[in-house]
């Protein structure tokens, strides 16, 4: 048993993959808690999809794909926030335009490369087993930065997310937070691109925090549990991928989804299984 856990670690690529995926998982779990609470999942999807443009441009011009994706994703997040504030557009409309437009442009750009299909596939679904130490360091640094910012500004993020009017009246720079949170989501999404790819970033952002909200009551506990679920999913998913010879990103996401389903049905208080039974005898509606 122990052997089968340790043996993969003999490979350098597995060490790098575990480290990169764990750091991405932690950052996603922390910022994802706010994404779930604020209903910003669509924003995460948008910045991930549109980052393909930045990746493609960097790739074609021989630059670093990470920085290309980061620059584009952060710009997209700020752009979406600005558009939705200024123009009288609903946020989901603004995001929809940026998702589709950015993704189409990205595919067109990538199609100019020689290894079109192979490269595109890597961008879309991640290839963490191919991560270099340089890539691990870059995404690890960005992940750390996100976590540090969230903890430093925890009080402000919490207050602004819960009640922005009152927060603004209390002197919390709500305008700033309104742009900061999407920007942090963008950085986090880019950190996770190598691990799960553009198509599955949303799963790492949303599934572990959603699982945690079913199991814990207060936000600090939700944050801690979300990190634990993400780490468990990332590590178990990597081992699953290693032994069953499955694609890494999807394996991680499937394990995370499994955790969510377990919590959804069997969470101590909020589990559907118990609710169904309680519902038969009395209604369990929230108090008015």
């Amino acid at each position: 048993m122990l052997d089968s856990l340790l043996q993969p670690l003999d490979y350098g690529f597995m060490q790098r993959a575990l480290l990169a995926a764990s750091l991405a998982g932690i950052a996603c779990a922390v910022i994802g808690a706010f994404v779930v609470l604020k209903g910003m999942a669509f924003m995460g999807e948008a910045v991930a999809h549109s980052s393909l443009v930045g990746m493609a441009v960097a790739y074609l011009s021989g630059g670093n794909v990470f920085w290309g994706a980061l620059a584009w994703a952060v710009s997209a997040s700020l752009g979406i926030t600005y558009i939705s504030r200024r123009a009288n557009l609903r946020l989901d409309t603004a995001i929809g335009i940026i998702i589709a437009g950015g993704f189409a442009l990205g595919v067109v750009l990538v199609s100019q490369a020689v290894n079109y299909t192979a490269d595109l596939f890597g961008f879309l679904f991640g290839n963490v087993l191919a991560a270099s130490w340089g890539e691990v360091a870059l995404s690890g640094g960005a992940a750390l930065a996100v976590v540090v910012v969230v903890f430093a500004l925890y009080k402000e993020l919490l207050f602004a997310a819960y009640d922005s009017d009152m927060a603004e009246a209390s002197g919390v720079p709500v305008r700033f937070v309104e742009y900061l949170l999407p920007a942090l989501v963008a950085v986090t999404a880019v950190v996770a691109l190598k691990t799960v790819g553009i198509m599955l970033v949303l799963a790492l952002l949303v599934t572990p925090p959603a699982t945690a909200t079913l199991l814990a009551r207060r936000l600090p506990a939700i944050l801690a549990l979300s990190v634990a679920v993400a780490l468990a999913a990332v590590i178990a998913g990597l081992y699953l991928s290693f032994y069953a010879n499955l694609p890494t990103g999807p394996s991680i996401v499937l394990v995370a989804t499994g955790f969510f389903l377990l919590a959804f049905f069997f969470a101590p208080v909020k589990g559907l299984a118990w609710r169904g039974m309680a519902g038969a005898s009395k209604t369990t509606g929230d108090p008015a």
Binding site: E156, A167, R217
Partner: protein, 279 residues
């Protein structure tokens, strides 16, 4: 403090206030003064600018013209002296925070950015919870509270910074009579301890029985004065327009809701003016 000739400045002084959204005026040339320790009920129909007036005092909505002084100084410099309770619908009740967490948020204005929570903050938050009778429920999630408890949790947050002026947006809406009276008792105590309270409401009986002054608002200030002086048929008709129909019965004016935008309750008689109705 700008106390001229030793005279204390009023708690709130609004002069020629104009504001609105997207160039549409919501408040037109509103002026009134509130003395320290007063309880003022702002009444008016939906869309009359009650919430906007409170938000303008808080600085959430910028005035187009006119000025707002809190204890003699521009309200923008006096944010720390203001406590605010938003309408309950404006708050996300599914948010995973406890009553204690919410009360502690009320300290943010005093703490400032990047400061850690201190023992003093915790004490003040606990004291505010005790003031509203919510201390025993401090570990509860806000989503688990009843309507009256939710209101008191928000009030605790407004009080946690020991505000000199407390602004309450529709504190009575949707509460049963017992919870309303509980809340009004707390408000009375606040005023007795020197705080100034300004609340918006649809409930004329609450204004006539518990507020010392009434501000009748419908974009412009229709009337401001003691409830018994201003809550008469002429003023109320002018304030509510077609929304209310006044009927005289047993020497008292009753206000019937013609049609309600929120369909929260069917047309029900609300006693208006004069003495409190015996229950």
């Amino acid at each position: 403090m700008s106390s001229v000739n030793g005279v204390k400045p009023p708690a709130l002084q609004i002069e020629g206030l104009w504001t609105g959204y997207n160039r549409q005026p919501v408040l037109e040339d509103v002026s009134f003064q509130v003395a320290v320790g007063d309880i003022v009920g702002v009444i008016g129909p939906n869309g009359s600018g009650k919430s906007t007036l409170l938000k303008c005092i808080l600085g959430l909505v910028k005035p187009w013209r006119g000025q707002i002084l809190v204890l003699g100084r521009p309200s923008s410099e006096q944010r720390r002296l203001l406590g605010y309770m938003p309408q309950v619908e404006r708050v996300d009740w599914d948010f995973p925070v406890t009553v204690g967490d919410v009360a502690l948020m009320g300290r943010a204005a005093r703490r400032g950015l990047l400061r850690r929570t201190t023992a003093e903050d915790r004490e003040a938050a606990s004291h505010a919870l005790e003031q509203v009778g919510m201390f025993p429920l401090r570990q509860r999630l806000i989503g688990e509270l009843s309507g009256g408890q939710r209101r008191r949790a928000l009030l605790a947050r407004a009080l946690a910074s020991n505000p000199a002026v407390v602004l309450l947006d529709e504190p009575m809406a949707g509460l049963d009579a017992t919870s309303q009276h509980h809340l009004l008792d707390i408000i009375g105590e606040l005023s007795a301890h020197g705080a100034t309270v300004i609340l918006s409401t649809h409930d004329l009986s609450c204004v006539s029985s518990r507020c010392r002054h009434a501000a009748c608002l419908n974009r412009r200030l229709v009337a401001f004065g003691k409830p018994e002086d201003v809550l008469n048929e002429q003023v109320l008709n002018e304030t509510f327009g077609t929304h209310l129909l006044l009927v005289h019965g047993d020497g008292q004016a009753y206000a019937y809701r013609h049609h309600s935008h929120e369909s929260d309750q069917p047309a029900s008689p609300v006693p208006a003016g004069g003495k409190e109705r015996t229950r």
